[in-house]
């Protein structure tokens, strides 16, 4: 197991380097002089001030030097300071992160709670009307644009029925009921696509497992269908789902960007969009890097979990 973990960690190193270079390079490509972005195009500042600002920002040095300097700061946890306000990027992320985490976890939980039973049900009788309906619904839910769904939900539940608020955020600890009320529609919006894709994965994984010898053995020795499915098949069918969850984490964050925008939730998504429109480079850079690192970390954890859950993987690396 130790060698497996070590191997995975070493594999991550080049990925991290590519990510940091790509993030930095993209940002340096942004058209325009950073100083003019901060001060505004028609600034009254004289050349001396501008030069001094360039010096302070360090943008007058060669790009590779800037990159190494930036990396040194990043490695010590310093993502720089916003150009638009005196707050550090790290602090801003710390403020916004809980909202996004709550949204993604609620959505993930909801998606799993619905997709696992549906996928299993569909796999039990492939080709049956139940399967056809579930698979059809899965295709539809996969193709619904999440922003459109969000708007339809607001229209139906907030504007027409007036049951739920359409936007805003209250921290869970301040007012749990209001928090969940506000999060319900965003969660539904974000979860729908995942219900479809997860249900498909659960179905095909389940079908594969149900075809295995050990399931046939379990049935042959006279176990009840229920015991076979929950005791033997389910456990094995869900192992690959863990990996897929990890892989879909990135998409989930991207979906959160859109969802937060529709429901005006103060999370990482609205942070990056606002920063993009404000051309606030350090914030965009910091958030992109942070989100990507989180995705990589989640993937690492799911891979390790996979190793723990499946002795066959561990055996491969001795």
């Amino acid at each position: 197991m130790f060698r497996y973990v070590l191997r995975r960690l070493l594999q991550m190193l080049p990925v991290l380097i590519v990510i940091s270079i790509a993030t930095f390079a993209l940002m340096s490509m942004v058209v325009g002089d950073p100083v003019l972005v901060i001060l505004g195009q028609d600034t009254a500042a004289d050349q001396q001030t501008i030069d001094r600002m360039r010096e302070d920002l360090g943008v007058n040095r060669p790009v590779p030097v800037q990159y190494l300097d930036w990396m040194r700061h990043v490695l010590s946890g310093d993502l720089g300071t916003s150009w638009r306000s005196p707050v550090t990027v790290t602090d801003t992320i710390r403020d916004r992160l809980p909202v996004t985490l709550e949204l993604t976890f609620l959505a993930l939980g909801l998606a799993l709670a619905i997709s696992i039973p549906l996928g299993t049900l569909a796999a039990l009788r492939p080709g049956s009307p139940v399967d056809v309906v579930i698979s059809g619904l899965a295709s539809i839910s996969l193709s619904i644009p999440n922003f459109w769904l969000g708007i339809l939900l607001i229209f139906a539940f907030s504007l027409k029925l007036g049951w739920l608020p359409s936007s805003g955020y209250v921290p869970f600890l301040d007012d749990p009921v209001q928090n969940l009320k506000l999060m319900l529609l965003p969660t539904l919006t974000l979860a729908t696509g995942y219900i479809g894709s997860q249900a498909r994965y659960v179905r095909s994984s389940m079908l594969e497992v149900l075809d295995q010898d050990y399931v046939r053995t379990a049935r042959a020795k006279g176990l009840r269908s229920r015991a076979v499915i929950f005791g033997h098949a389910m456990k094995n069918a869900l192992i690959p789902i863990v990996t897929i969850l990890g892989l879909e984490m990135g998409g989930l964050f991207a979906g959160a960007v859109v969802t937060e925008t529709i429901f005006s939730l103060p999370g990482m998504g609205t942070l990056i969009i606002d920063a993009i429109f404000g051309r606030d480079l350090p914030v965009v850079q910091g958030v992109v890097l942070f989100i990507t690192l989180m995705v990589v970390a989640v993937n690492l954890v799911t891979d390790l979990a996979y190793g723990l859950l499946d002795p066959r993987i561990r055996a491969m690396y001795g």
Partner: protein, 262 residues
């Protein structure tokens, strides 16, 4: 399939069938509900929504086509190079795709579109780049699986040169899997383009796009929900039909999937 055909025809013949010019402003008919003159109603500036939907489809499908074709060509080329060339070339390409795939695709597209500035071109470039790593990995995997197959070994044993080997022996065996990937990808690109436009980082106005129309309409949800419902429905239909075609192709072309899907 039919739906897609109609959308494509609509996009190609937009100037002929659109009842109005997409940017023609009629200040007397703003935010109208659907009527006989304006089947899908009008937007805040009094522009005819049906015409804008038809022209918007042009943009969406054009972006999807360009990004998928571009992404596929570059991705397949990289995948072939990577799978065929051992050693450091393969390592470099694979580590680069690893790194790119670590970025959530919408975030990567957002960042590229931001870096290049909002324009039709930068959207296409952003979405093409997003398509490359997945296609490259898929192709590489196929090439690695193929290169030990007897017919390839036999072909190279009788002295078939690498360029001919790639064109005559590898590519035909890659077509089906790449085609499936491309058609599922087209749905994703339509979706991504609409997301970017919805977030305000897509094709700049006044050019009509479905995502942009949804963005404009959404502000007036209370006054006139049609302006949000209709463009979204078109995005949904386009994505759904690409996904159906992709799934259909997979069932048709990939016999391994058949027994799994029952």
């Amino acid at each position: 399939m039919m739906v897609l055909l109609i959308l494509v025809l609509g996009a190609v013949f937009a100037p002929v069938i659109a009842p109005y010019s997409p940017n023609q402003i009629d200040a007397t008919a703003r935010l109208e509900e659907p009527t006989r003159e304006h089947l899908f109603g009008t937007d805040t500036l009094g522009r005819d929504s049906l015409s804008r939907i038809i022209y918007g489809g042009r943009i969406s499908l054009f972006v999807a086509l360009s990004a998928v074709v571009g992404g596929t060509i570059i991705g397949v080329a990289l995948g072939l190079i990577s799978g065929y060339g051992f050693g450091w070339v393969d390592s470099v390409i694979m580590r680069a795709t690893d790194g790119m795939m670590a970025f959530p695709s919408l975030i990567l597209a957002l960042t590229i579109a931001f870096a290049l500035g909002a324009s039709l071109q930068s959207i296409i470039i952003a979405l093409t780049v997003v398509r490359i790593p997945g296609t490259a990995r898929l192709t590489r995997g196929q090439v690695l699986a193929l290169r030990n197959q007897e017919f390839i070994v036999a072909a190279s044993a009788i002295g078939v040169r690498p360029p001919r080997l790639v064109v005559r022996h590898f590519l035909p065996n890659l077509v089906s899997i790449v085609l499936i990937q491309a058609s599922l990808g087209a749905g994703q690109v339509v979706f991504a383009e609409a997301s970017l436009s919805f977030l305000g980082l897509g094709v700049p106005p006044p050019t009509p796009s479905w995502g942009g129309m949804l963005r404009d309409g959404y502000v007036f949800l209370e006054v006139n929900p049609w302006q949000s419902i209709i463009p979204g429905a078109f995005i949904f239909l386009a994505v759904l039909s690409f996904n159906f075609i992709g799934d259909g192709l997979r069932d048709l072309l990939d016999p391994r999937q058949r027994h799994i899907r029952g």
